[in-house]
């Protein structure tokens, strides 16, 4: 069992910096998801933890042990790749037995481990099948089994569910979580799918453009995003952001959102955080927190498009604003009509209009 400590980790490929000064502590036995869009540096980080890539600078410690120069075979990590990396010329049994055999385990011991793992992953009936004849779902299961059988202290998964089909993905999410509960390893899970991160991870590290944006529990990053990137990236659909300027009214401070209207009065705490009353801010609120209103001072936007996805309806608002509202499927919405809506003050977040940093969290974000 092992914790992971990344200190000032940097990775450059020639002139391109894939990872800019990453600091991250992953606790022993923790399930950490590294979440971000393609090219954000998450796989690079993972590869450095595994030893597939050498850091350009900075250090990686597993608990107290400095991993600089330790070859990947000696790190006691398991790695599951997006494209399975199954040895297709072998049977499922040979694939599962590969690691233990490499580590010179006794044959009886290997057989026992293979049987256990096959049972856990429901692969027993497929043990003697040639791997290249199996479906991608099964292949990924075999890949997970092949890594897990070594009981590595650290289990690294690089978008393992990206290529499998949607139904199987849901099954595997549960299975992976169970696997981790059973073996209690430290798990690092790289993904661009926030649903996987939110459902499985103890904590999520959100990355963008080679920079770690925020680390926190799934609810923390959802409820308290530190900047506009995290706010829009987390949540499905992401947070709505509208540029506006603060305006003082008789009742209190509001944000003038232009054509949309004037925001409800800001709660005192939020208003006091607003240091400059003249500069622009991003006014943020989640699509699911919009409620249909009728009053004259409500915000309003034309409905441009609706996506009915069963229990919920996603309503696209305004032209070119990428604003959305999420309602249950009974709320009447008509494309072309104007939607009047209100927001509860506690559901509103403000971000700096230029830097995108959450107002009130500037210090924390450094």
């Amino acid at each position: 069992m092992s914790a992971i400590h990344l200190r000032n980790l940097v990775k450059r490929f020639g002139a391109f910096t894939a990872l800019k000064t990453m600091d991250l502590d992953i606790a022993d036995g923790e399930f950490m998801a590294i979440l971000g869009p393609s090219g954000c540096g998450k796989s690079t980080t993972m590869n450095m933890i595994a030893g597939l890539e050498e850091p350009s600078s900075g250090s990686i410690h597993f608990s107290d042990r400095d991993m600089a120069g330790v070859p990947m075979g000696k790190r006691n990590v398991g790695f599951v790749f997006q494209n399975y990396a199954i040895f297709t010329h072998m049977t499922v049994r040979q694939n599962l037995a590969y690691g233990p055999t490499m580590q010179r385990a006794q044959t009886a011991e290997v057989n026992k481990k293979v049987a256990e793992m096959a049972d856990f992953l429901q692969l027993t009936e497929l043990l003697d099948r040639k791997a290249d004849k199996l479906s991608v779902n099964i292949l990924q299961r075999v890949a997970i089994g092949r890594s897990a059988i070594l009981k590595p202290a650290i289990f690294l998964l690089d978008e393992p569910l990206s290529n499998v089909d949607a139904a199987f993905r849901a099954v595997m999410r549960t299975e992976l979580k169970q696997l981790q509960r059973q073996f209690k390893q430290t798990m690092v899970y790289v993904t661009h799918d926030q649903l996987e991160a939110m459902t499985m991870a103890d904590r999520i590290a959100v990355m963008d453009h080679g920079v770690l944006q925020q680390v926190g529990t799934p609810l923390e990053v959802y409820n308290n995003p530190v900047n506009t990137f995290v706010a829009t990236f987390i949540g499905s659909p992401g947070m709505n952001l509208v540029k506006g300027t603060p305006t003082e009214t008789k009742q209190g401070l509001r944000i003038n959102l232009g054509a949309i209207g004037k925001s409800p009065i800001l709660p005192p705490a939020l208003a006091s955080n607003l240091k400059s009353r003249n500069s622009e801010v991003w006014y943020g609120f989640r699509p699911e927190n919009i409620t249909v209103g009728t009053k004259a001072d409500d915000l309003s936007l034309p409905i441009t498009f609706t996506e009915r996805i069963g229990a919920r309806t996603i309503v696209h608002l305004g032209e070119g604003l990428s604003m959305k509202a999420v309602f249950d499927n009974e709320t009447p919405v008509t494309v072309g009509k104007t939607l009047n809506f209100t927001l509860k003050p506690e559901h509103v977040l403000l971000f700096d209009g230029t830097s995108g940093v959450r107002i009130g969290m500037e210090a924390a974000h450094g």
């Binding site: 990947m72 075979g73 398991g78 790749f81 494209n83 990396a85 890594s147 290529n163």
Partner: protein
């Protein structure tokens, strides 16, 4: 999509035409091989497309049986040239494939020397004749002239670029994650190569080997320059099958040609399954 009948007719006509062009010379060779002298000889009176009196005479002749119908005796039989062709082609192929595969793997995985892959083609830039004359002199100096291993060595060198480039493409296409997975599980680089990479490369290796073997097997020029008495190969020997009395011994040549076609054919059929796989390589969905 449902295809129109005229289009289908046209399609099969084209296929038939291509087959005719490709197969007529072979059919002719086969028919010639079984004709008695009178039916193929330029002086013969019974020239014919199809053998009227099929005979194995031509085969017996090249393996040393003399006959009164041809007033020619052969200096040597076809047995030794067949052995020479087999030895030089097989060992030449082994050299090219093993060296080419190792080089391709190294360059594909460790990427040292960007210009090296291109530099390897230099061997093929010049007309073979221009390169072979110096090689002939060097080989004479090294006493490799007229030996099967001297010839095999040259075959290995000359076909190396093909083996290298074919294998490099396949290695480049093989997902690195497969090897990385084995490395993470504690496998050494060498074991990864021998236990994981090479077994997965069976199909590409088979297609590259067949390709290189056929190149070696059908070579005429190099063998002509580097062998003279002891170790002439089938193509060189075949060219010598003529006499001042009868001119070209077409029947004997055809018989030898038919025998020479066997190894590539057998090899091709044996690895046909791999050939298709080799051409559609890429075991993993990306």
């Amino acid at each position: 999509m449902k295809k129109s009948i005229p289009f289908e007719v046209f399609r099969y006509a084209m296929i038939a035409l291509a087959l005719v062009v490709a197969l007529i010379p072979i059919a002719w060779m086969a028919s010639m091989a079984f004709k008695p002298v009178g039916e193929w000889s330029a002086t013969g009176a019974d020239l014919t497309w199809w053998p009227k009196h099929p005979t194995l005479f031509n085969f017996n002749f090249i393996f040393g049986q003399s006959d009164t119908s041809l007033i020619v005796a052969l200096e040597k039989t076809a047995a030794k040239p067949i052995l020479a062709s087999l030895l030089s082609s097989i060992f030449g192929t082994l050299i090219a494939i093993s060296a080419g595969t190792a080089a391709a793997y190294g360059l594909s995985r460790f990427g040292a020397g960007k210009n090296l892959p291109l530099a390897l083609i230099q061997l093929r830039i010049f007309p073979p004749m221009a390169v072979m004359i110096p090689v002939m002199i060097m080989w004479a100096f090294l006493r490799l002239n007229d030996t099967w291993f001297g010839l095999a060595l040259v075959y290995g060198i000359v076909t190396l670029p093909f083996a290298f480039w074919l294998m490099k493409t396949f290695f480049d296409d093989m997902p690195r994650e497969i090897e990385e997975a084995a490395l993470v599980e504690g496998c050494s680089r060498w074991r990864v190569f021998t236990r994981i990479t090479l077994p997965m490369m069976r199909a590409p290796l088979a297609s590259a080997a067949l390709f290189v073997f056929i190149m070696n097997w059908s070579d005429y020029l190099i063998a002509l320059l580097l062998t003279s008495r002891e170790w002439v190969t089938i193509p060189v020997y075949m060219a010598s099958l003529s006499s001042s009395m009868t001119g070209q011994l077409y029947g004997a040549k055809a018989a030898l040609g038919l025998i020479a076609a066997i190894p590539p054919l057998v090899l091709g059929i044996a690895i046909q399954k791999h050939l298709v796989r080799g051409l559609t390589f890429g075991a993993l969905k990306q």
